[in-house]
Symmetry: C2
Subunit: 271 residues, 2 copies
Amino acid sequence: MNKVQHKIAVISGKGGVGKTVVTVNLAMAFAKHGIFGRVGILDADIHGPCVPKMLGLKGQNLRVGPPGIFPAIGPLGMKVVSMDFLLPSQESPVIWRGPLKMAAIRQFLSDIVWGELDLLLIDLPPGTGDEPLSVMQLLPEMDGVIIVTIPSEVSQDVVKKAVTFARQLDVDVIGVIENMSGFVCPNCGTRVDIFKVGGGEKMSKELGVSFLGRIPIDPSICEDSDRGLPFIVGHPNSLGTESFTGIVEKIRGFLNQGSRCLSISREKEVN
Amino acid sequence: MNKVQHKIAVISGKGGVGKTVVTVNLAMAFAKHGIFGRVGILDADIHGPCVPKMLGLKGQNLRVGPPGIFPAIGPLGMKVVSMDFLLPSQESPVIWRGPLKMAAIRQFLSDIVWGELDLLLIDLPPGTGDEPLSVMQLLPEMDGVIIVTIPSEVSQDVVKKAVTFARQLDVDVIGVIENMSGFVCPNCGTRVDIFKVGGGEKMSKELGVSFLGRIPIDPSICEDSDRGLPFIVGHPNSLGTESFTGIVEKIRGFLNQGSRCLSISREKEVN
């Protein structure tokens, strides 16, 4: 883990707010403007791992070599580790209690040959229980957490708990992303706020944390995720991709306050 | 628990598929056509309890009396127990590992004075870890589980694990509900399948379990949930309410195969 420059966990408190979609697309956006093979994703959702499916890596396995276990390699050289690679079939549930899950996450962090990475994003399952707690305790040197919410009050209420959770564990909150923020009918252009809009920004202000941006509802996000194509690759000119790009800039800004690694990668690409 | 005629757990595998919305509205639909005060909800989501908010019970407390702890009372006499009633503030996270969560759930089941109930719905958090496992082991005489999914393949993949989970624990699968199934623009009537459509039914066939019905996307569901009004009460003449009613009929059919309790409640109401 000491060759991994930056580590960021993506958390939500509430499930189904699109945390994995956000993780995968942020990772791809970083990789697109970085060095090949220097971004990784640890899918720490033991019960419902979705990262491989969304990156088109279903059916791959982790390769084992003398130095340890190697991550699967996705688009743009993305290094991916997920429980999904270890399951015998799609239908197999992982019926584990906390201590086993902590052991699995510890192995994912220590026994995997991640190599040199500029950034590792850790996709955490919802809640403030075993898995998030394990990751926070096993990676005390984490840069911070990104919190994903949808605009609804119900989601905000749960996500506030995630902010308190991070603070109690003394981890920086990089900022809040509001996903599924408004929907525009592709036929008539009418805007329908299916899960309301603006709740994430309001919550950020209330809690005194940065607001990173909004990602609108777009049926292509679901379609792309289902066929294993990250949305920002499948729809580079969409409003959603624009949002992701803006959010990545803000995260870079946060990381560069403390280090110059990612800005160096950036310069190399620009030159 | 022996005065509770029927016990059904609502599970999903994946978070954010609207499991709590489904639980609350199914409970209300049962209560509407049953005897006052004979339906209960146990919110077994320790980290992100949302049932009280959706029933307008925020800020209530559980009352303690000589026989034990009494549930909060919601609309139509709904008996509700949730971790949320025990937290000092909205922002307080429950940073607990598995064993503590199991202890809390055991107390919710054994120390609460539920009284005589026709039906207890148990809203489980996503995944196949500590909480679902605890509930299944603590309530071996459960009637069965209802599985909620959204139509996307990513959700189906995770939900299949929930079906296997129930089967491995020898619990009946009552059926699958497809939530967030298609969206119709309120302005022009164009149908947009934001999370696709039909995936839940397809999955049910593949796995050989009953399909209970589809609930369309409706912004009112989010609005009603946020203001603490169950959707089927706030919008009794909507397509969504029609779906919930149809689903409840199918569940009644399942329960009546094994007992006559709910059909009796039904007759009383009709006369």
